[in-house]
Amino acid sequence: MTAVVHHDPGSSARQRDRLARILLYALLVIGAVMALLPMVWMVSASLMPSGEASTYPPHFFPSRVTLDHYVDLFTRLNLGRYLLNSAFVAFVVTASSLAINSMAGYAFAKMRFRGRDRLFRTLSTGLVLPVQVAMLPLFLLLKNLGLINTYWGVIIPGLASIFGIFLVRQYALAIPDEMLDAARVDGASEFRIFWSIVVPGIVPILATLAIWTFLATWNDFMWPLIVLSDESRYTLPVALANLAGEHVQDTELMMAGSVITVVPVMLVFLFLQRYYIQGVMAGSVKG
C-alpha cells in the first residue's frame, strides 16, 4: 500500500469501471422495462372495470381489480372452447412431430442407405421455400379430401417438418456407431434399437422440438385462419382476431382475451426455457 493513492493507476480504472457499470445497468433496465411494459399493461388493463382503459390520462393500474372480463369471455364468448381447440391442435401436432421427425432425423443421421445425402439435400431446399407458396394448392387438396373447416385440415401440414428433421439429425449424428452396431450384432431389431438406444440418447433435442412445435402451432395464425370457417372450431389466435373486429371498443375485454392466449405459451417458455433456447442455437448452427 502506498501513500500516494491518487497516483494509483488502478483507482481511476476502477472508477471508470464503476461508471461504465452504472451506464450498462441503466440501459439494461430501460430495455427490460420496454420489453415488459406492453405485457404488463395487457395484464393490468384486463383487470380494469369497463371503460377505464379508455381514459385520459391513461391509467396504468386498475382503480379496482375485477375479473368480469374473464368471466365474460368464458361464459358469453365461448373462449373455453377456443382454448380447447388450440390445445388439441397443438398437442396432436407436437406428438406427431416428435414421432415422425425423430425417426426421419435418426435415419438421415445414422442409417446407411442409397441416395441418403442427395435426398437430404433435396429436402433442405424446402427450407428456403416460403410456406405461403404451398397454401393455395394445399387448400384445394384438403378441400378435395373433405378436410377444410376441420381440425385435421389445420393439423395435417404440421405433422412432419423439415426443420424438425434437421434438428434431430444434427443431434443424432453424435450417437456412436459402435453402440448401434453392437446392438445389431446382438440381434436387436432396427425399431428396438431406435426405441431403446436412440430415443433415450436424444431426449434433450426431443424436448426442444416439442416446445418449438407446440409454441409455433399455438401461435400460428394464417393457416388456421384460412382453413377454419366454422366459429366453433377456431383456434385462439383466429378467435381473438375475430373478436377484436367485433369488440373494438371493449379494450379491457380484448386484453383479457390476449392474456388467456399468451399466458399458456409464456408458462411453457418460462419452465422449459433451457430447451427452447437450445433450439435457437441449433437453428443458427445450421446456417
Binding site: S54, Q132, L136, M266
Partner: protein
C-alpha cells in the same frame, strides 16, 4: 471393416425407408406437391368457378404475371413489404446486436434474467400482442401519445395515418423479434477469442476500434445468418397488418402476403394469387442469394 458393418447395408436399406416413409410421404404430399402445383396454378385463371368445377379453368400462360405487373396495388404491396423488410430488418438486427453487446459485458451480472426478459416478447402470440399494441397506439388513450406529450409532441394518429402506420408496425415487430437474434449474437460473441481483445487493448485500441476491427469482422458469419433469417421472415409480413390495420389506411400497410390472402382466399382468384406467391418466393430467393454473395465477396 468389421463383419457387422458389411452385413448392414442390405437390411438397413429397407429399415431406413421404414423410418423415413412417414415424414417423406407427409412432406411430399402436403408441401412439395403443393409448391409444384402452385407453379401450375399460377399459369391458369383458376377462380371461384374453378372451385365449383375444375373444367372452368383455362391455361393462360403468363397472363397472371403480366397483369400483376400492370396492377398498382401489387406494386404498392411490394413497396410496403420492402419498406417493412429493409427498414425493420436492419433496425431489428441493430437492436439485437446492441442488446447482445450489453449482455456480453463482463461488468454485468444477472445476465440470464435480462436475457429471459428480452426474449419473452419473441415467444408471445403475434395476434395477441398486435391487439395489445393497437391499443397502445390509440390516438387519444394510448401510451405512446401520452409519453410523447411529455416532450411536447402532438398526438400522432399511429395506425390511421398512411405515413405512420408502417413505422408503427415496424416498431412493434422490432420489439417482438429482437430477442431471437440477440440470442444468436450472444453465442457468436462468446465464440470470439478473448486474446484478440487483450492484444488490441495492449495496442491501445479503444472500445469503438475494438468493436469495428474485431467484433464486427469476427461476427460477420453470424450477421449474415441473422440477416437472412430476419429478412425471410419479414418478407412474409401478414398478421400484423391483418390485425392492426387491415392493410390500411389507403393500403399503406398491405403486404405481398396480405394481398395474396385477399386475392386467393377472399376473392378466390387463386391463379392470380398463386402468381403473387411466386413473386414473393423469387424476391426471398434473390434477397437470400444477394446476402450470401455479399458475404463471400467480403471474405
Amino acid at each position: 471393416m468389421t463383419a457387422a458393418r458389411l452385413r448392414i447395408p442390405a437390411e438397413a436399406n429397407s429399415a431406413a425407408w421404414f423410418f423415413l416413409a412417414p415424414a417423406l410421404v407427409l412432406i411430399g404430399i402436403f408441401f412439395f406437391l403443393p409448391v409444384a402445383a402452385a407453379m401450375l396454378l399460377s399459369l391458369t385463371d383458376f377462380d371461384l368457378y374453378g372451385i365449383a368445377s375444375p373444367l372452368n379453368t383455362r391455361f393462360v400462360g403468363f397472363q397472371n404475371y403480366s397483369r400483376l405487373l400492370r396492377t398498382p396495388d401489387f406494386w404498392l404491396a411490394l413497396r410496403n413489404t420492402f419498406y417493412f423488410a429493409f427498414v425493420g430488418g436492419p433496425l431489428t438486427i441493430s437492436v439485437s446486436l446492441a442488446a447482445a453487446l450489453l449482455l456480453s459485458s463482463k461488468l454485468v451480472r444477472f445476465k440470464s434474467v435480462f436475457r429471459t426478459i428480452y426474449f419473452t416478447p419473441f415467444v408471445t402470440t403475434l395476434v395477441a400482442v398486435a391487439i395489445v399494441w393497437r391499443y397502445l397506439y390509440h390516438t387519444r388513450y394510448g401510451f405512446f401519445n401520452y409519453a410523447l406529450s411529455f416532450v411536447g409532441i402532438d398526438p400522432i394518429d399511429w395506425l390511421g395515418d398512411p405515413a405512420w402506420a408502417m413505422p408503427a408496425i415496424i416498431l412493434m415487430a422490432v420489439w417482438k423479434s429482437f430477442g431471437y437474434n440477440m440470442l444468436i449474437f450472444i453465442a457468436g460473441l462468446q465464440a470470439i477469442p478473448e486474446e484478440l481483445y487483450d492484444a488490441a487493448s495492449i495496442d491501445g485500441a479503444g472500445p469503438f476500434r475494438r468493436f469495428f476491427n474485431i467484433t464486427l469482422p469476427m461476427l460477420s458469419p453470424t450477421l449474415v445468418f441473422v440477416t437472412v433469417i430476419t429478412m425471410i421472415g419479414y418478407f412474409q409480413l401478414f398478421a400484423e397488418p391483418y390485425v392492426m390495420t387491415q392493410g390500411g389506411p389507403l393500403r399503406s400497410t398491405t403486404s405481398v402476403v396480405l394481398l395474396m390472402y385477399e386475392e386467393g382466399f377472399r376473392w378466390w382468384r387463386m391463379g392470380y394469387a398463386a402468381a403473387i406467391a411466386f413473386v414473393l418466393f423469387i424476391v426471398i430467393l434473390l434477397a437470400t442469394l444477394v446476402q450470401f454473395r455479399l458475404q463471400k465477396e467480403r471474405a
